[in-house]
């Protein structure tokens, strides 16, 4: 079992990194990665939401939707669960970590529409993980997200200081940089 858990962790964090190999959660990746503080804050918030979302959606799908043969409601139910969890997280962060709340700004409610969160909850079933493995997978996905965000925040700060062709300033150069970072992650393919 330990072997499988380590396998899932390595797959989620490196080999199938949600941002750099699966293209999930690109909006916050491009939007919030400007400085290290908010990038890591966002990464941690997303990890927490992923874990709680998996903790709720797995039993709902297995014991309610499957039992009642309502699997086609999966998308609607999952997104509602995630939306309410995000509201809850937002309220908690606003109450206890006001500076973090300010720096995350509009991107906090947008975790709802972060494909990575819905993606994890759906992929747990595509990969047919049990409850424990699903939670491990959610944690790995969140850590992979955090890793990509913090790595890329470093790259972004270098871009700020360099001379960029006029038309490439802002969003376009960010994508070109992401392309090079993701190239390095291709090296992990085939480890597991």
């Amino acid at each position: 079992m330990a072997k499988e858990i380590i396998g899932i962790l390595i797959t989620g964090i490196l080999v199938e990194n949600y941002i750099l190999a699966r293209f999930l959660g690109i909006c916050p990746f491009i939007g919030v990665s400007k400085d290290l503080r908010s990038a890591s804050g966002m990464g941690i918030a997303v990890t927490v939401v992923m874990l709680i979302a998996t903790a709720f959606t797995w039993p709902i799908q297995t014991y309610i939707l499957k039992a009642l043969e309502l699997e086609y409601l999966q998308t609607i139910v999952f997104i509602l669960v995630i939306a309410s969890l995000v509201q809850l997280t937002e309220a908690i962060i606003k109450r206890y970590f006001p500076p973090l709340y300010k720096s995350l700004g509009v991107y906090l409610p947008l975790i709802t529409t972060n494909c990575a969160v819905l993606g994890v909850t759906l992929l747990n079933f595509t990969k047919e993980y049990n409850y424990l493995y699903s939670l491990v997978n959610a944690f790995a996905a969140g850590m992979g997200f955090l890793l990509a965000m913090t790595l890329f925040a470093g790259v972004r700060s270098r871009i700020e200081e360099s001379k960029v062709p006029k038309r490439f300033r802002g969003m376009p150069i960010t994508f070109v940089a992401a392309s090079i970072v993701s190239m390095s992650f291709m090296g992990f393919a085939g480890i597991v």
């Binding site: 293209f23 909006c27 491009i30 086609y72 509602l80 529409t113 972060n114 038309r167 994508f175 090079i180």
Partner: protein, 202 residues
């Protein structure tokens, strides 16, 4: 708002993908071939048009404080419908797009348009906006798909055209790279258009 203006905004000036950087995940993930890109574009555009229209019809009934969950449920409903239709009639495409079909729910373009446009404008304007933003999305995806299929696979719509296949363009880094370059070109195109308008004295 003028219809022409809505059309131009949706397709070029505020192209949801290359100017507003919305809906980037599906744009990067499914554009490894032109046919996948078109399938995704049409599915998302259909959801966008339906949800924009319905949300605009219902806008007076939606309490302000719960408008986001309300919009998401409407969008999720249409996505589920599209998912079932695709599973029944185009199973190969359904398999190829996989998890990215239910993920249309969290496509920022659709929720963004609901929030920014459909809740504030008339039903017909919202419908028009849905059509042209959807068209902008399809064009963007098709462009990405075509470039990546030609460069990465040496084919177009599955037909071999004999150009050398540079595999990296079909892989992840190629997606980011092509996106960045097209976004820069769109910026340039928009600037040219803006200049012409200035010299005309509008």
């Amino acid at each position: 708002m003028k219809k022409g203006e809505i059309a131009l905004n949706g397709v070029l000036k505020e192209n949801p993908v290359f100017v507003l950087a919305l809906g980037t995940c599906p744009t990067l993930a499914v554009t490894t071939s032109l046919s996948n890109a078109l399938g995704m574009g049409i599915a998302a555009a259909f959801v966008l048009i339906c949800s924009n229209t319905v949300i605009s019809i219902l806008k007076k009934l939606i309490p302000d404080s719960i408008r986001i969950p309300f919009c998401i449920v409407i969008i999720a409903g249409f996505v589920t419908a599209v998912e079932m239709i695709m599973q029944a009639y185009v199973p190969a495409l359904y398999e190829a797009l996989g998890i990215y079909i239910p993920l249309i729910v969290v496509n920022c373009i659709i929720l963004g348009k609901a929030e920014m446009f459909a809740l504030k404008n008339s039903v017909f304007d919202s419908f028009t906006d849905g059509v042209f933003s959807g068209l902008g999305f399809i064009i963007a995806l098709a462009l990405m798909g075509a470039v990546r299929e030609i460069l990465g696979n040496g084919s177009i719509l599955g037909y071999d055209i004999g150009t050398p296949a540079i595999k990296i363009f079909a892989e992840v880094p190629g997606g980011f790279l092509v996106y960045g370059i097209i976004a820069a070109l769109t910026g340039m195109l928009n600037r040219c258009y803006g200049c012409r308008r200035c010299t005309k004295g509008e």
